[in-house]
Amino acid sequence: MRLGRIARIVIFCALAVSLLPSAFAAPKGDPIKIGAVFAVTGPAAYLGAPEDRTARMVVDEINKDGGILGRPVQLIVKDTGASSEKAISFAKQLIDEDNVVAIIGPTTSGESMAIKDICQKSGVPLISCASAETITTPIAKYVFKVAPKDNYVTEAIYKTMNKMGISKIGVLAANTGFGNGGKAQLEKYAQAYGITIAISEVYDANATDLTALLTKVNATGVQAIVNWSIEPAQAIVAKNMKQLKMTQQLFQSHGFANIKYVAAAGEAAEGIIFPCSRLVVADQLPDSNPQKKLLQKYNADYRAAYKEDASTFGGHAYDSLAIIKAAIESAKSADPAKIAAAIEGVKGLSGTAGIFGFSAQDHNGLQPDAIVMVTVKKGKFVLYEGK
């Protein structure tokens, strides 16, 4: 008797579920398959997890609004754990077995470089969420990226230093693709801005205490320190500096752009200056800013869906999908080659990272003004406007 009742409930639920799609105006036809290669777990999970969440959220929203060209979008997410080897095998799988029309991600620069050639040779557009300049320089016809170029970020830091009268700095970087890339950029542009790098050191990304290294940096008499890393080291540098009573101005990379990291560093985060897109200071933007509404909507949607604050990293997934959608719509086709060609024609697209305008010569699409300097005041991000 009881089993019978349970069986009836199951049948009822199954029927209800099978009837669900017809209840909404769901998009019909073959789904447009988009692959996503994110480091959802592992050492870059801080970047990959929000990208994964954002991508799922955006695809749900696209499908709710009737899909692209009336076809539903199917997102196939692969978790690489930040391993380049896995990124390669997943990219091949997505292209050869799943026949995706485009790939978004990978999360890290190392993974992006690992699959750049695969996507180029297979003729499947790749929109990387990582920041290294080498991803789009030299240009590969099928490879794009949405994170601002490293040099926009470093130059924004140096311009601020010039205004503050800082000329002698120390550079610290985590021993990762991101850290080494940032360090190379800082070293490359220092001379152009009249800045001397007195000491430049790389540390283990999993370091738990950096007081010895900071003692060495402190002894060189630098005026400011630039740290290029993600969690957990970026909070450790800030804390260790305060514990050593170091008074130099601390600059962080755009990897600091998540309010969670401010919480992790606590009071030690006060006064840190870092370059970043406008997402984290959306509410402080003037109403005339073309990105403001979109940024506020993304922040609110993400918070509602996942009970945590959105980050610029998740924003990269948002922008990638928005660009693919715009490209498919303008090409009126979901053919990979036509999508790649159409991306080069995307202009004036308001995204989370800035206003995108691609061309055959520019596969990043962002201008230096996509970057603003942000500082931490009383545990909150505020636009840095100089002293």
Binding site: E201, D204, T208, A212, T215, K216, A235, K239, K260
Partner: protein, 296 residues
């Protein structure tokens, strides 16, 4: 190098050494009781820090730490009783591999339970910007807590193994399992106690270092590697040697920065470690008898 700079590097070395020694002691207790290397040792420290960071939001810090230590000890005993005891008939090597599996499971469970974000435990005194000045060197008051906690654990363990009946029984068991059984000591119970103690010490260490180092689901493997290095460096099975080796390694890491770039820090320590192990395979302070693989 002037005096204050020397002390500054010394304090850094002391901090690193204490963190490594705390994990190494846990390795040794289990090694003495069972002859296996428990590669989930770092995960005990991770669990301690993570549980304490969650509880500290709603209850006093000391209570959160006590609860984290007890909970992790229960996990430690459960792992021994429910898993390792069942694979013990396959031999020591298989059990060591099983502990690697357990460490992965614990890490994934922590990822599912707490997510990927980095967490902190509140500082015991002051906060992240507090600093104590001593002879021209500056350091966080938490450094004193860490060094004090390790000293406390070392003294408590020594007294426990020398003075209490259970402590003596555990030592007897590690010296001769059959002999201990003949005297009415249950080796199985001693092994369970060893796992509980080792997990508790790991968790305690995890809580004490977490304000400084922060904690996240994947921090265990880093700690395991350093802890095992220190345990092998000092001589497996010898907890006092582990503390000495921890400080040696810590000082080596801290002072090597003066002459080589930070990036080569691990190269220096590994070269020293390999040299010691080639010259004296039982570790700096180990003896051949203690170095022989024990039976479970």
């Amino acid at each position: 190098m002037d005096g204050s700079l020397f002390i500054q590097y010394f304090v850094s070395g002391l901090t690193y050494g204490s963190i490594y020694a705390a994990v190494a002691i846990g390795f040794n207790i289990i090694y003495n009781a069972t002859g296996i290397i428990n590669f989930a040792q770092g995960e005990f420290a991770m669990l301690g820090g993570m549980i304490a960071s969650s509880l500290a939001r709603s209850c006093p810090l000391w209570l959160a730490i006590a609860a984290a230590v007890v909970a992790t000890a229960v996990v430690g005993v459960a792992i021994e009783r429910l898993l390792l005891r069942r694979v013990s008939r396959f031999g020591v090597l298989k059990m060591i591999i099983a502990t690697i599996g357990i460490s992965i499971v614990l890490r994934e469970l922590a990822l599912a339970a707490w997510g990927e974000s980095v967490r902190t435990v509140p500082f015991f005194t002051g906060n992240e910007v507090s600093s104590i000045s001593f002879l021209g060197a500056n350091f966080s008051p938490q450094v004193l807590w860490i060094v004090g906690a390790i000293a406390l654990v070392a003294v408590a363990l020594t007294l426990y193994f020398k003075l209490t009946l259970t402590g003596k029984a555990m030592r007897g068991c590690s010296a001769s399992r059959d002999g201990a059984s003949l005297c009415g000591i249950s080796p199985g119970r001693m092994v369970a106690i060893a796992f509980g103690m080792s997990a508790a010490i790991g968790a305690f260490a995890g809580c004490v270092v977490a304000p400084l180092t922060q904690t996240h689901y994947a921090i265990g493997s880093t700690l395991s590697v350093k802890g095992f290095t220190v345990a092998a460096f000092g001589g497996l099975g010898n907890s006092v040697a582990a503390i000495a080796a921890g400080f040696l390694l810590g000082m080596l890491e801290s002072f090597s920065i003066v002459v080589v770039p930070e990036a080569y820090k691990d190269v220096v320590t590994i070269v020293v470690l390999l040299t010691v192990l080639v010259a004296k395979p039982t570790g700096l302070f180990g003896s051949r008898a203690a170095g022989a693989l024990k039976e479970y």
